[in-house]
């Protein structure tokens, strides 16, 4: 946890310094609020041998400060239900919380209608699933750094498409113990955040993730834009109790230029 805080602090300071170097006077600040419909597909051997699928709403807020480079902070919250294909007796509830901080550097480009940014992100992700008031539960939490690339194509003065791809590279991974419960969980059952954020460094082979997003933006006015997003999120944990999750979320939102 201390390492995670140090990484965050380092990342924020670096991002702030680099932002200052790149002329904050011309920065555009924007706030985007969005709502989407999250389609989740899950196989978590700790929870069940059965594949789960289901959906629910997801809400997000993203703040971005764009000069030459981009500094962004985002929070997303999703909740819904998952069912197995075989039976409707096992309806699980899930919570999905993502917090991210990104800093992307613009790469020099001859084409004025295309911007390309690359950089890093510090992300905390927590996915919690439970059945029947915690009679069964599982979770996956990650904290760490991801590399991220983003391509923006201006189609017309008011239309643009942006796509980004993030791949986690150094993550603290939190998963339930071998048997789902142990004395640590029993003793700390009133502090779920403490349980979920108790992660261990994971190797690249043990934890794999991919976060792909494509956004179409229509600039309604100089201060207001309408977005349509589609995001695909893949997560895979290898080991004795494998975990796989795929989340596909079409969403729409409004961006306010501040």
């Amino acid at each position: 946890m201390k390492k995670a805080l140090l990484y965050t602090l380092f990342f924020i300071l670096s991002a702030g310094f680099l932002q200052a170097q790149n002329g904050v006077n011309h920065a555009v600040k924007s706030l985007k609020v969005s709502a989407g419909y999250q389609n989740n597909y899950l196989n978590d051997a700790i929870l069940s041998p059965l594949n789960q699928q289901g959906n629910g709403m997801q809400f997000g807020i993203t703040y971005r400060r764009t000069a030459k480079n981009i500094l962004g902070i985002s929070i997303a919250y999703g909740a819904g239900e998952l069912n197995s294909n075989e039976t409707n007796r096992f309806t699980n509830s899930y919570l999905d919380i993502n917090i991210g901080l990104e800093y992307l550097v613009r790469i020099a480009n001859q084409n004025e209608s295309v911007d390309f940014h690359v950089g890093g992100a510090y992300e905390t992700r927590a996915f919690f699933v439970e059945w029947n008031d915690l009679d069964a539960f599982s979770y996956t939490s990650t904290q760490g750094l991801a590399i991220k690339g983003m391509l923006t194509k201006r189609l017309q003065p008011k239309h643009s498409i942006q796509t980004s791809l993030g791949i986690p590279v150094a993550q603290f991974l939190g998963r339930p113990p071998y048997n789902g419960i142990d004395e640590f969980i029993i003793e700390n059952q009133d502090s779920p955040v403490k349980i979920m954020l108790q992660g261990e460094p994971s190797s690249f082979g043990q934890y794999l993730g991919l976060d792909w997003n494509v956004t179409y933006t229509f600039q309604i006015s100089p201060r207001l834009a309408w977005n349509i997003d589609y995001s695909l999120f893949l997560q895979k944990v290898n080991g004795l109790h494998p975990y796989k999750r795929m989340s596909m979320t079409p969403a729409t939102g409004i961006t306010f230029n501040l």
Binding site: E86, R89, L155, I181, Y230
Partner: protein, 368 residues
């Protein structure tokens, strides 16, 4: 469904103004990417669902126990031998009732009532015959009408009530489970019992709950800090793979403790956190256990487990050991004074366990 969205995505892209500087090739790339990621890839990513057949349900069930159940060694169970015995009885032609019979018969060998199987309407617990029988050997109505007075129920807690034994200076406290919002309420009850000569602490039919709750209630009767047990949770494929021992001690608060004679009443249905409570109490010199041997099921129960046919089940995932390394799993707490009710003693209006407690307090401590 796929076709519907496919057409609409195409229509959407084609409907863009023609003066968008996007080539036909770029449009096709967009179309392929969106279609690829939107549909049909979940099965490729997750893998096929587990088949819902009797043989596969049995295999998942047996393997799950094999990899996670904690008490094969402690209870001396040859799980592989049970597979050899019961697996041949399972074919894909088996009915649900027949599969239920095979699986429950197999886990009956564990004699562990923390192993339970549910099919949505039926509920089975391993080794539960004596526990179930003891339900008829206890009557709260009989206690209230014949043996107790000044009864108060503590609403914030689950099945906690207290009062006095009729015509005696003896406190009575009943705990039907180890769950509630405020176990420290026990300190107030002990203050109320301050001037009694003894307490009867009745945990017959105690269905367990939270071990921390047990520890807090037991603190009110503590005479010091004693090492009482250790817990280990199975953490690997081997039957002897367990995590580090977590050692537990009794808690002690010299300002809030009752150290006059305490008689704790038990029966076969005193189980789990109820038995953890006894691990605490039996470390104290002024506590005597009277009644029947307890269930002998100490482990925390696993998360609910699921089968493709809609059944669900739980099992033990821990082992509890006494400081000398012995386990009471499958044995239970053997009482200091053995006595048990029967259906007929209850029907005849006598709780001979309660009466034995009174006799014991008189003979051992002179409490009338």
């Amino acid at each position: 469904m796929t076709q519907y969205f496919h057409v609409n995505i195409e229509e959407f892209i084609n409907s863009w103004p023609s003066n968008f500087n996007i080539s036909k090739m770029n449009k096709n790339i967009c179309l392929i990417l969106v279609s690829l990621f939107w549909f049909g890839c979940e099965e490729a990513f997750l893998g096929e669902d587990a088949p819902n057949s009797p043989t596969n349900n049995f295999e998942i069930f047996w393997n799950d126990f094999d990899q996670h159940y904690s008490l094969f060694e402690v209870r001396d169970i040859d799980w592989d031998q049970l597979y050899q015995t019961y697996r041949p009885q399972v074919t894909d032609e088996l009915s649900n009732e027949e599969l239920w019979e095979v699986m429950t018969t197999m886990v009956e060998h564990l004699d562990d009532s923390h192993t339970a199987l549910y099919d949505g309407s039926n509920h089975y617990k391993s080794g539960y015959t004596l526990n179930a029988q003891s339900i008829a050997e206890f009557s709260a109505e009989l206690l209230l009408s014949r043996y107790l007075e000044n009864i108060n129920e503590v609403k914030s807690e689950d099945e906690l009530w207290y009062g006095n034994v009729k015509n005696k200076n003896i406190g009575y406290l009943y705990l039907g489970s180890m769950d509630g919002y405020n176990p420290s309420v026990i300190d107030e009850i002990i203050r109320i019992f301050e001037n009694t000569e003894a307490i009867v602490l009745d945990i017959r039919q105690n269905t367990g709950g939270d071990d921390r709750y047990s520890a807090r209630i037991a603190q009110a009767f503590s005479d010091g800090e004693h090492e009482i047990y250790s817990v280990q949770t199975r953490n690997g494929r081997g039957y002897n793979d367990f995590d580090e021992k977590k050692i537990y001690h009794t808690q002690f608060d010299s300002n809030n403790t009752y150290n006059k004679p305490v008689i704790v009443l038990t029966d076969r249905r005193t189980i789990s956190a109820g038995e953890i409570f006894l691990l605490h109490l039996k470390a104290f010199d002024h506590v005597t256990q009277i009644g029947d041997t307890t269930a002998g099921d100490f482990s925390t129960v696993s998360n609910m487990r699921f089968l493709p046919n809609g059944w669900r089940y739980v099992y033990s995932i821990q082992k509890f050991l006494l400081p000398n390394g012995a386990s009471l799993d499958g044995i239970g707490h053997v009482p200091d004074v053995y006595v048990k009710n029967t259906d007929s003693t209850i029907e005849n209006g006598k709780d001979i366990v309660m009466e034995k407690a009174m006799d014991y307090l008189y003979s051992e401590y002179g409490v009338e």
